[in-house]
Amino acid sequence: MPKDSGIGAASKRREDVRFLTGKGKYTDDINLAGQAYVHFLRSDVAHAKIVSVDTSAAAAMPGVVRIFTGDDFSGVGGLPCGWQVTDRNGQPMQEPPHPVLAQGKVRHVGDPIAAVVAESAAQARTAAEAIEVTLDELPPQIDMAAALKDGAPKVHDELTSNLCYDWVFGSDDAAIDAAFSGAAHVTTLDLVNQRLAPNAMEPRVAVGDYNDAAGDSTLYTTSQNPHVIRLLMGAFVLGIPEHKLRVVAPDVGGGFGSKIFHYAEEAFCTFAAKELKRPVKWTASRSEAFMTDAQGRDHVTKIELALDADGKFLGVRTHTMANMGAYLSTFAPSVPTYLHGTLMAGNYTTPAIQVNVKAVFTNTVAVDAYRGAGRPEATYQLERVIDKAAREMGMDPVEIRRKNFITSFPYATPVAVEYDTGNYVATMDKLLEMIDREGFEARRAEAASRGKLRGLGINCYIEACGIAPSALVGQLGARAGLYESATVRVNATGGLVVMTGSHSHGQGHETSFAQVVADMIGIDENMVEIVHGDTANTPMGMGTYGSRSLAVGGSAMVRATEKIIAKAKKIAAHLLEAADTDIELKDGQFTVAGTDRSVAWGDVTLAAYVPHNYPITEIEPGLEETAFYDPNNFTYPAGAYACEVEVDPDTGKVEIKGFAAADDFGNIVNPMIVDGQVHGGIAQGIGQALLEDCRYDETGQILTGSYMDYAMPRADDLPFYQVDHSCQTPCTHNPLGVKGCGEAGAIGSPPAVVNAVVDALQRGGMSHVTHIDMPLTPSRVWAAMQG
């Protein structure tokens, strides 16, 4: 029986009322008295030396308050990078400066050269057109392989080359060489995991404010982690101590990773507001989003899989070039390394795995975490090469996976992580139950009678979520801890407010977090309010990304609520004249065990704040507790996905006929929200597989700078999904037993689609088609078919 409230109930998302009725309060809805507007003059070339910037004519234009250039920021820091990767020789990565406004050079189309603050946005834009910039163009570095060549012009003159780091991870050379030299079969696959533009529905916005009397700065911003922005911007860029800096991220219209990072525009608005002593606002246009929001993926990979004659995996070796873009975005170095290399074991017992990643600077927009972040890249190459190996060895793609599944837990992989629990057999069994594989041949034959080629793609995935144990990520180069925090404030009449360091930008935290706390106490969900997004009223938290909010933030909330319950029991024990160890809490009622003597939740909370009859010498009045939770491992959601497609052989057009996802997310708090997260993730994964492609020409111009050329998935591109999350192996190390579900769909789905298309073409007699790079546009599929 599904529950109708608390943990496990499909409670309707309370936040949707305001989102769907236009009453959400987004950053762009914030308009402060005396506010000025900034327009950034951005480079229209990819790589050039700045010879001169003449702002004199522009400064005289109507409404102009002040024009800033890179020189104005010479006294402050640059945008910091939050993760330092150590290369194969033990040396730190090359880490170039990242000024708020360009200094000396521009390094990608969209790099800000000057910022015009004016009375209106239109005046700022008009004045920006009057700025005279003289640039001395330099050869742009767009292609990674070319950028790594000896003598290639450098994106950053102060570095030795365009190589950020050359990183090797996993098994040593001897082990990997032995695996390959002893193999009966080696399958090799070269592939591209193409660059994506994140495209949150809400473009980025920043409003800086300064209180001259108190000397306080406030930044309103579209962020997934306001405390992180406060720390990075305050400590590393502007030198403002945290007690003088408040960062507010109100309703945020989607992030997908792109709003984790600290951006120049945030620092600019905060800085300029203080300089000008008036609020300064920036609202990105969609065009600016395409040239400034950190982009995703962009890996070029060669993967080799060594197998014995029975199809057992002996070794995996990968070489990847990962594009960093022109600057290191906040967490960019971690994505191709610790979020990618650590997942190369997948769901399999491969004993030897070695991962090599060369991170490369190019004259393109910075690349950083985007839904899945490294894990989609790992899953895609592994699940594609397994499919190719199965075909080469004449094995069934499901059977070859089953043969190699990890079945005993905990399992320590050769790539540093230890899976605490899982059941890959169960999710594969569930998937097969969902997709009627036996009926596929009949469906294929029916499609063939209509002239269509039908194919079925199946794959597994695993991801590491709930990022992360602080001590572990510290060893791996993170310059931050990755705990989460919660304060639970119970009010006198029993309602309570949870102030969380997590941030909700579409995930439904206000609903699911309330379900957890209400369930623990046994009260109505509507008595719990979730507060997030403001450093002034939430404890220091690390924010939301990496499918961590419930696993880490939810666990902090559980710990704080446990403290509340422990104290409330002491108060109840006093009121009931019993020992607190005898007090049981159920359905909001404190009862002396084995008796009918009880006192209600509301009586206890009232006593806490009106302590007339109260153990005042033993415990303090009030009922408010804070907890910080630092996980002791990642969580490892995993599953099996299947996609069925039809390909039109005349045009190469792929139509998705069915999509099934069997996920193990551990325990589930709100199954409806989980369904929605998986649906959205699959939509993004299908978007990557079939449609999305962020492309630059050889001069560094963005060819896909608008929705005229960047193809986002739309409703009619997507099928009805079958999703299931009944296979549950609860996480063993967090109190909720949850694993996280936010990224799974985007991780598991691209290989399913590509496997299905290759299968369709193979079954259609095109045995020469072993791989097609994403996106599988009609023209690419058609070209592949032509051979």
Binding site: T651, G652, L691, T704, A711, T777, S779, W782
Partner: protein, 263 residues
């Protein structure tokens, strides 16, 4: 957007007069012009909206069996009003853009702009339509003069388009996945006098007639008749959505499909 004056005349005469102003620009449904203005890629002194001119609105069938569409008629109206009299044209109009585009965009605006990937040029050329302006009548064969280029003079307004209703016709559109404009679109129309085939989206010269297919189909109106025909990839558009050879291939595929679907 730069600032501009706005005029909304109630008659063709007033509109013609308003367009005589320096740097004046006619505004149809604004589906191309407004984004262009927002990007500050154009700076007209006055925008002359054609949406308030009653005589440029509506759909009817003339005595000589042509579908007459007022130049300022939105696509959605054509989709609805022509559904019975000219289903191929109505079907084409019903698949332009999305509902917002179809309720604002107009036939006159589309033809005046002559985007190489727009649908209406294929319908106009594929039917041998007559483009009526405030000054004259222009045959479709003379009207289209390359990408974004037409026979229209400065300040000339498309007041009506007359599409001769064929015995059978169909428009096949293979969409570019991002914009959903035609990557390639083919309009096939069968008349007593012969078959016309017009192709949009494919050529660097904009919409064109595929005369080889027309000749074959005029002899034998069947998909088989065009099966062996190939249009050359020379001069075809090549971009990230498809190389020239792919577009050339699609022309053949879509022509066959249009013949099969013609009704």
């Amino acid at each position: 957007m730069y600032s501009f004056e706005f005029a909304r005349p109630g008659s063709i005469d007033e509109a013609v007069k308003a367009l005589k102003a320096e740097e004046a620009q006619a505004l149809g449904g604004g589906q191309t012009l407004i984004p262009t203005l927002k990007q500050r890629l154009a700076a007209p002194s006055v925008l002359v909206s054609l949406s308030g001119i009653a005589e440029m609105q509506g759909v009817c069938v003339s005595d000589d069996n042509a579908l007459c569409v007022g130049g300022a008629t939105p696509h959605a109206v054509v989709a609805k009003e022509a559904a019975k009299s000219f289903p191929a044209l109505a079907g084409m109009a019903s698949r332009i853009g999305d509902p917002a585009v179809r309720n604002r965009g107009t036939v006159g605006g589309s033809l005046a702009n002559n985007d190489p990937s727009a649908c209406y040029p294929a319908a106009a050329l594929g039917t041998g339509a007559t483009i009526k302006t405030n000054a004259r009548e222009i045959a479709a064969d003379d009207y289209f003069q390359g990408m974004f280029a037409t026979a229209l003079d400065e300040g000339e307004i498309i007041t009506e388009v007359r599409f001769p209703i064929p015995e059978k016709a169909n428009y096949q559109k293979f969409v570019q996945p991002a914009s959903r404009f035609a990557l390639v679109g083919v309009f096939v129309a069968k008349y007593a006098s012969g078959v016309r085939v017009a192709v949009t989206g494919a050529s660097e010269d904009g919409v064109f007639r595929w005369t080889e297919a027309e000749e074959a189909l005029s002899k034998d109106f069947s998909a088989k008749a065009v099966e062996g025909l190939k249009v050359s990839a020379d001069g075809m558009i090549s971009d990230l959505h498809g190389p020239a050879a792919y577009r050339a291939h699609l022309v053949g595929v879509l022509t066959g499909r249009a013949v099969n679907a013609a009704a």
